[in-house]
Symmetry: C2
Subunit: 356 residues, 2 copies
């Protein structure tokens, strides 16, 4: 039986204080919920807009226990949450999405094995635990290929491209000698992503797939609709649904896919709201942040139909300085004090009448 | 010369802690601003989502001085702010919109005299300071008519309808014997409102007029577009623009108008974001709350073009209990603990493809 929906005024705990947590907290406030952010750094973007904040380490058992006692449900805004913290919290309060999604998302080998195990195609890959294994994998998968650490990579960090003739030893050193995966080259036309949600009752809804463009390993632009045929858009949504159901997931997920001659390959998924879904704030009645809050509170999922075409641009580093002079767009800034190079400071969304 | 725009991270002071202040604070957070709510009651809806809150009376000089020192600009979310408080603040920090709009909006006589003085039509009216003046005004304006207190009326409070044969003495007692205005009857087809904004640089933009339906003196529903010809919609927008310019206004204003056989009459205006503009959250790229924040921060006004038709319904009193089960709509709740009868607890917006 599905539990009762959490009433307005319930307290949502958010692990992580970055911009995704900030936008979750704002969406929660719109639904009359209270928020409590748990984050080691002070004055974090999400903490600025939450009702309460705990500044503590993720391995602080007393702070975790007090946090669990202060909230009605816990969610997270990043996939590298320590599983021990999740376990400590889950003993006291529902954690949504659950441990299973985190386990799969934190380890590239586990993720690919999970995806292949439910019948989804990925790029060819090989587990790599040292320079010898890497040399063997390079021989098998050919060049170019990409060596990625199994854990803790994001925004292009923790990975190195290996062209023909690359040295296995140097590559192994370049990624710090950590357990890794080698991914074979995939000649893809474009990268798309699907932001989808699964409710506490098992209902699944998806936003229209967006097309992503990266610069320097960081998402630069998402355009919706993606330039793909309707049949492929449907395939992408079905893939997201399969992942959600297999994980018995509650909340929003972001699934990145490569469009290839042979169909769709899953690149990776993030068990959280996703940068490539920010366009939903301006392109849909209910955005990914509200959808996530609805799901974890046991509310029916919202109407995520796209009313407009949309283009989302990230404001990286010093580009945020342009924000006060941007016209004709929706601007969202994250409350970060220092505009360091490569740091996501905000984003801009433009819309146009729906074309397809 | 127009002052420089306030940079992200600036501190916006909001007088008043209700739902309008709450939605202003949320919009400010989206633009990376900090908010500080000043409100006599504890745990007010706006204070829940602000970065800081002062709980103090509006006539507390020390609290006002400390508030002024803690913010970069001050705005307000209700029109009955004490002018003395505004003056105390304005000596230290910009207050936007300014005193002039408040003076006109706080007194129905001043408001009507101002409107007529800039060439705008209102219902016929007469100043009433006692039962004798009321009897004379009733004889002149005929029946039915509406007697309203000059000050502090809202949501149908402080007013009484006078039908043929009504007693001037009883009516005077019914509104508490306070200085008043008698408004002659206007046979109107519908009530519409225009939400418009004026920037620090004098630029004016308006959202499409909405059509309002009241129940028990409280706004029940706003539908956009209003069922009026384009020429009348343009007239309504021009009227709002004339008011904004005459007041040298900075921020968002809500102007209520009657559609009559003879054209538009101005009912009243509110020098703030307005309940009948809530639909903009779901019908426009930039909503009235962000538009207000942009204006008072000296940012260029946003794109308020309507991408969809919209219907906004208020959730009054116990109706808020339905919120967690509402489907296919955008829901906004105000964080109020007690769902008293007649209290605005939240609202619901539905959209449809743009029809006109």
């Amino acid at each position: 039986m599905t539990p009762e929906p959490l009433p307005p005024g319930s307290r949502i705990g958010i692990l992580g204080g970055g911009q995704l947590g900030r936008m979750l907290a704002i969406a929660a406030a719109r639904l009359g919920m209270r928020t409590h952010v748990y984050e080691p750094a002070a004055d974090a973007p999400a903490a600025q807009v939450a009702n309460a904040a705990t500044v503590a380490a993720y391995d602080d058992p007393e702070a975790l226990a007090a946090f669990a006692a202060a909230v009605d449900v816990v969610t997270y805004e990043f996939e590298n949450v320590a599983l021990a913290a999740v376990d400590a919290l889950a003993a006291r309060v529902p954690v949504r999405p659950g441990r299973r999604a985190l386990e799969a998302a934190q380890d590239r080998i586990a993720e690919k094995a999970f995806l292949n195990g439910i019948g989804l195609a990925t790029a060819p890959w090989a587990e790599v635990d040292g320079p010898e294994a890497l040399a063997a994998a390079m021989a098998r998968l050919g060049a170019p290929a990409v060596l990625k650490t199994r854990r803790l990579g994001y925004d292009g960090k923790g990975q190195v491209r290996l062209d023909r003739g690359a040295s296995a030893g140097e590559a192994w050193t370049a990624i710090g000698g950590a357990p890794a995966v080698l991914e074979g080259f995939v000649g893809f036309e474009r990268e798309i992503s699907v932001i989808a949600a699964r409710g506490l009752d098992g209902a699944v809804v998806a936003f229209d797939p967006g097309e992503n463009e990266h610069r320097d390993g960081i998402l630069h632009r998402t355009t919706v609709p993606a330039r793909i045929p309707p049949s492929l858009a449907l395939d992408a949504v079905l893939i997201a649904g399969r992942i959600l159901n297999a994980l018995d997931y509650v909340g929003v997920i972001g699934v990145e896919l490569f469009v290839t001659d042979g169909g769709l390959l899953v690149n990776e998924f993030a068990p959280r709201v996703h940068n490539s879904g920010h366009w939903t704030e301006a392109g849909c009645l209910v955005d990914q942040f509200e959808q996530h809050v609805r799901a974890i509170c046991g509310w029916p999922l919202g109407d995520g139909a796209r009313h407009s075409d949309a283009e989302m641009l990230n404001l990286i580093g010093a580009a945020v300085g342009e924000a006060p002079s941007i016209r004709g767009a929706r601007v969202q800034l994250y409350g970060k004090a220092e505009a360091r190079a490569g740091r996501k400071m905000g984003h801009v969304i433009r819309i146009a009448p729906r074309s397809a």
